[in-house]
Assembly symmetry: C2
Homo-oligomer: 275 residues x 2
Amino acid sequence: MSPAPAHRDDEAAFLAAYDPRDFPAIALTVDIVVLTLREGRLNVLLVERAGQPFQGQWALPGGFVKAGQEGLDEAAARELAEETGLSAGALRRVHLEQLGSYGEPARDPRMHVVSVAYLAFAPDLPDPRAGGDAARAAWTPVVGPHGGGTGGRNSTERGSADRELAFDHGRILADGLERARAKLEYTPLAAAFLEPEFTIPELRAVYEEIWGQKLHPGNFHRKVLSAPGFVESTGETAERGGSRGGPRARLYRAGDARLLHPALLRPDAEEPDAR
Amino acid sequence: MSPAPAHRDDEAAFLAAYDPRDFPAIALTVDIVVLTLREGRLNVLLVERAGQPFQGQWALPGGFVKAGQEGLDEAAARELAEETGLSAGALRRVHLEQLGSYGEPARDPRMHVVSVAYLAFAPDLPDPRAGGDAARAAWTPVVGPHGGGTGGRNSTERGSADRELAFDHGRILADGLERARAKLEYTPLAAAFLEPEFTIPELRAVYEEIWGQKLHPGNFHRKVLSAPGFVESTGETAERGGSRGGPRARLYRAGDARLLHPALLRPDAEEPDAR
DNA sequence: TGAATAGTGTCTATTAGACACTATACG
DNA sequence: CGTATAGTGTCTAATAGACACTATTCA
C-alpha cells in the first residue's frame, strides 16, 4: 500500500516529506447518467464536446474531480448542478448514486483517465444550458428496449437515435439503464421521476417506460399499495382524470421506505438470460 | 470534460502537446475484500501495514494502479495474485467483481487517494505470504452477524476480533460483506467458496455462514435443484457421510447460470430495515 | 352516449415454508 | 444400536397474475 517504502518514526515528518508528484499521474473524472422522463419518454442528458478528443461528438456530462477538495459524491453533485443549472433545492429531489468505475488505459486517448460513473433519477427538468467545456447540452431520448416495446433485450443500447457516444460512454449508459431497470424492482425510486405528488397510474407509467413493457393496471395498483412505505396517501384527488377518459386518480407522495418488500419484479425477469 | 479549453484542428497535434502534469494529482488504488471459508468460518484477507500511514494497523490488501498500463479489473487481479500468491490457474476459480469507489479527500492523510474496491470470493486458499509493503498477511475471521447467529443486523461489522482497520477499510469491508450476502440471493456464486465438486449440504453451509442463520435443509435442497443452472449432478456420491452420521450426499458442480431464478431470498430479508 | 380508465373483488396456479418420514451412515 | 443427516413427500398459508365489474370522467 505504501508507495514509497519509507519507514520514518514520526508520521508527521513523513507527511511533510511526502511529494505526490512522485507518482505517475492518473486523471480522475466523474461522469453522470442523468435520466428523466419528458412527455413520458425516457431521456438522458448529453453534452456535445467542444474540444478534443471526440470533438463534436456527444458524451455524458462530467468533469474532473478537484484533487484534495471534494469527494466523489460531492464531485458528482457539483457536476450535476453545473450541467443542469439546478439549484441546491431542486437537486434534493434528484436521486444520485454511484454506478461504477471505468478505467481501461485506452479509454481516453490523452492519458489514463479513470471515470467514476454516477446514475441520477430526476423529475422533468428544464432544458440544460451548455457548460464551459460543452458546445451544447440536450435531453436526448433513449432508445433500446424502450419506446414501443418492440426492441428486444439484446438490442444495442444507445442514446439519441443512434448517436455514438464519445469514450466508453455508450457502455456506461447501457450499464446505467440496466441498473435503473433493476432499481425499480426493489426500491421506490420510480417516484424520483415524478412530482412530489403523483397518482398510481403515473407511477405505473414510469415502470412501463423504463421496463419497456405494459403492466397490468389492477395488479400494479395493489402491489404498490401493499408494499409498506412505498407511497402514502395525501387524501387528495388529481385535478383531472385520464386524458382519454376515466375517473380522477388519488394522489400519493413517496413514502419513507428505501427498499420494497415485497419487490415489484419485472414480469419477464424470470429468464433474464438464464443460460 | 476537456480540461484545457483547446480548440486545435488536428487531434494528433493536440495529443502531442498534451501534458498530463498540468493537472493536480489524485492517486488511484485498488483494494480488495477477499472472502473465503476456512473450516467453515468466513475469513477475510488482511495485511499489516509496514509503513506510514497507519503503520502497524491492519488493512485490506491493495495497491496503486499502474498508470497507463492496466485497467481496474487487471489491477485488482494482479494485486489479488500478488497478495495470495496464487497461480493464474487457481485464480480462475476466484470470483472478482467491482464493489465501489471511495474518494473522500481525507481518507488518506498523505494526499487525495481514491480507491476502487473489489470483492472476491475464493475457495479455501493456502496461507498468504506478506507482500513487499506488508509486514504480515493473514486470513482473519469475520465477526458480525456471523459466527453464531447471535449478532444482530445492526452490530458493527469489522474483521478480526475487533481490530480497527486502516483508512476507511472498515467501511469497505462492511459494504463488501453486505454485497456478498445479497449476491448469494440472486447468483450461484456461493459455489465459488467450494471445491469444484460439492454437495448440497456443503453449499447450504456457505449460505448459513454468510447469512448468519440456519436454513431449512429440506427446503434448501429443493430450491437449489429447482433453480435452473445452479448446480448440475456429477452422478457421483461423496466419499463419506456427515461427520456426525447420515447418508453420503450426492456430488454436484456449478451450473452455467449466472443469475438464479427463482432467487434464494434470505428468510429474514422481508423487513431488512423497512423504514 | 361511447370509450377509456381508476380502483376493487375474486379466482386460480404457483410458491415458500413447516412438518413428517425413510433410508443411510457414523460412532 | 442410538443419533444425526440426506433426500423426498405433503400440507398450508401467502402470493402473483388473470379476469371481471362498477363508477367516473373525457370527448
